[in-house]
């Protein structure tokens, strides 16, 4: 097993004259739980979107599991094993929780239109199997009882969990979580940290989070990468980052360092 499951080399993203990401190299160690942080506008989400195929970088490459995925469309990257959740929850509100999870299994199912219409035994078996798997995933994230409810009607916390369950249905190797604790109270955030490690351990994944909540970041990350204004300004363990001058400056402004 190689050291990094996902490698981004010299990624730059320019929108016209605006440089959103400036020559950032980054990797996700296999089996690791790492975070990407930075003040607002640092380019985290843009970079994130490059990793998942939503944006094509102006330059640089992304390699996943040995393959070059820089050029691939989002659904192919998802099928290859890169799953993500969204900052603003993007569930299929009018489908049940179970169906939401089953959508993500699309690429693993094999039945074509004809066998679906005819209801062949193979197709029925496949459907039953995917329902079972979906329910198992819902149980795993802790919302097993909501399988038949419309996603729109779930509580906020349950929706976040559903997003993770759906991402897990892709049978990914890497899970990218975009601000997963937004809107959570401290208690929920704490449970979330444990949850992340459970996911990593039980599903054998590598995990990348974008986060704003510093307490969560410090607690959950094995390694933190800091972006500011499109550039990588620091990378290291939580302890190292906490005391990194440049990081503090980026977040609080230069005066903070000199003032107190």
């Amino acid at each position: 097993m190689s050291k990094s499951v996902l490698n981004a080399d010299n990624i730059s993203v320019k929108f016209g004259g605006l440089v959103a990401v400036d020559n950032v190299s980054f990797d996700i160690p296999t089996g690791g739980v790492v975070s990407l942080i930075g003040p607002n506008g640092a380019g985290k989400t843009t970079f994130f979107n490059v990793l998942t195929g939503l944006y094509k970088p102006t330059s640089g490459t992304v390699t996943f599991d040995g393959q070059d995925i820089t050029a691939k469309p989002p659904h192919k990257i998802a099928q290859a094993g890169v799953a993500r959740t969204f900052q603003n929850i993007r569930l299929f509100g009018l489908m049940t929780a179970e169906e939401n999870v089953m959508v993500a299994m699309h690429s693993h199912l094999k039945s074509g239109i004809l066998s679906t219409i005819l209801g062949t035994r193979k197709q029925r078996a496949e459907e039953a199997e995917s329902k079972k798997t979906a329910r198992e995933l819902l149980e795993f994230v802790g919302i097993g009882g909501t399988a038949d409810q419309f996603a729109r009607n779930l509580s906020y916390g349950d929706q976040r969990r559903l997003e993770v369950a759906r991402a897990l249905a892709l049978k990914p190797k890497v899970l990218l979580l975009d601000e997963p604790t937004a809107g959570m109270n401290p208690q929920e955030s704490k449970t979330f940290v444990d949850f992340v490690y459970r996911v990593r351990d039980e599903k054998g994944l590598s995990i990348l989070l974008i986060e704003h909540d510093m307490s969560v970041v410090m607690k959950v990350s094995e390694r933190i990468t800091v972006l500011d204004r499109g550039q990588k300004i620091a990378e290291g363990s939580p302890a190292e980052i906490k005391s990194n001058k440049r990081v503090i400056e980026a977040y609080l402004g230069k005066s903070a360092e000199s003032g107190n």
Partner: protein, 342 residues
């Protein structure tokens, strides 16, 4: 959305190649016709441009509304049709003018003001009662509503004008001037005389007045505009009023220069005008005018040239252009690409 880099450049090559090929074929077609019968070529062009000017007035309405609320106002063309009906009623029925005379000219100008007011009012009313509620609804809803409004307006057209075309005599002077074997009717000149000041006036309103600035701000970011104290509702209403007024003017011009009214004119010409707006870059005002002239030209040439598909394929040609545009260059000639934010 991103595309694979290899697929990206392959696609780009194919697009550029096909675009060049199409342009080449068009150039050859034009060239052959030009050589074969130059006077017919220029005649067809003249007709085309005079149509284009009319389309420009209508296209501006589409592009204004799309720019500000991202809605294709399906019913806009039908507003133009209503303008024609109003003009016919105003000039011929109320004032009994059916031939050129100084009274006729006065009535014509009075009608210009009146029809612009009429159509502006109707457009504002439509926005208020049919579209406003759906401003935050998913795009499907106002689109379907607009189609519904279009049909209702056509119904009004049927009741007002009957289910077939009606012909009218014009108060504009008949006759023409001839320049280098090209016949330019006086009505065409008058169309220009009316349209160009209107366009200039519109440009002034949009670029120099407060209302115009409010429009452009709202088009860029409605929420930010609201935070700046702009009354977004009023601004949108104003936009609809402007677009409606222009459509009304176009309706009057059409009715007086072509002498015909028909309930389904709006649908036909509306789509042509919309194609023009897209060709120029939807949301871009000068683009709408440019696109309209181009489309008018293409249509005129197609219909009037000896080597051409002929009038019965006119719609197919325009719609094919629309489809090609949407497929390969939805931003049109002067529009800017939009990136979806995640």
């Amino acid at each position: 959305m991103a595309r694979s880099s290899t697929r990206f450049s392959a696609r780009l090559i194919i697009e550029r190649f096909s675009a060049t090929l199409i342009l080449l074929l068009v150039a050859v077609w034009l060239g052959v016709n030009l050589v074969k019968s130059p006077s017919q070529f220029f005649q067809a062009s003249a007709i085309g441009i005079s149509n284009g000017v009319l389309y420009a007035l209508i296209a501006l309405g589409y592009t204004l509304v799309y720019g500000i609320i991202e809605l294709i106002n399906f019913a806009h063309g039908d507003l133009f049709m209503l303008g024609g009906l109003f003009a016919a009623t105003f000039i011929a029925v109320w004032f009994g003018q059916d031939s050129p005379s100084s009274v006729g000219y006065v009535v014509f100008f009075a009608c210009l003001i009146a029809v612009m007011g009429f159509c502006a009012t109707i457009n504002v009313a439509i926005e208020r009662f049919a579209y406003r509620r759906l401003r935050r609804a998913p795009k499907l809803a106002p689109l379907i509503t607009a189609v519904g409004v279009s049909f209702v307006i056509q119904f009004i057209g049927i009741r007002w004008n009957g289910s077939g075309p009606k012909t009218w005599n014009s108060v504009l002077p008949s006759g023409e001037i001839i320049i280098a074997k090209v016949h330019i009717p006086y009505t065409t000149l008058i169309s220009f005389l009316v349209t160009i000041p209107l366009l200039v006036l519109m440009t002034y309103i949009v670029t120099k007045t407060r209302r115009g600035k409010a429009m452009r701000a709202t088009a860029q970011d409605a929420d930010a505009a609201r935070l700046m104290g702009i009354n977004v509702d009023k601004t949108i209403a104003f936009t609809f009023a402007l677009g409606g007024a222009l459509a009304g003017a176009a309706g009057l011009l059409f009715q007086q220069t072509r002498g015909v009214t028909n309930y389904n004119l709006g649908y036909q010409l509306g789509l042509i005008a919309f194609t023009s707006a897209v060709l120029g870059g939807i949301g871009n005002l000068s683009g709408a005018v440019l696109g309209a002239i181009l489309i008018g030209l293409i249509q005129g040439l197609n219909d009037g040239l000896p080597i051409g598909l002929g009038q019965q394929w006119s719609q197919t040609v325009v719609f094919s252009i629309l489809i090609l545009l949407m497929t390969f260059k939805p931003t049109g000639l002067l529009g800017k690409p939009m990136v979806e934010k995640v």
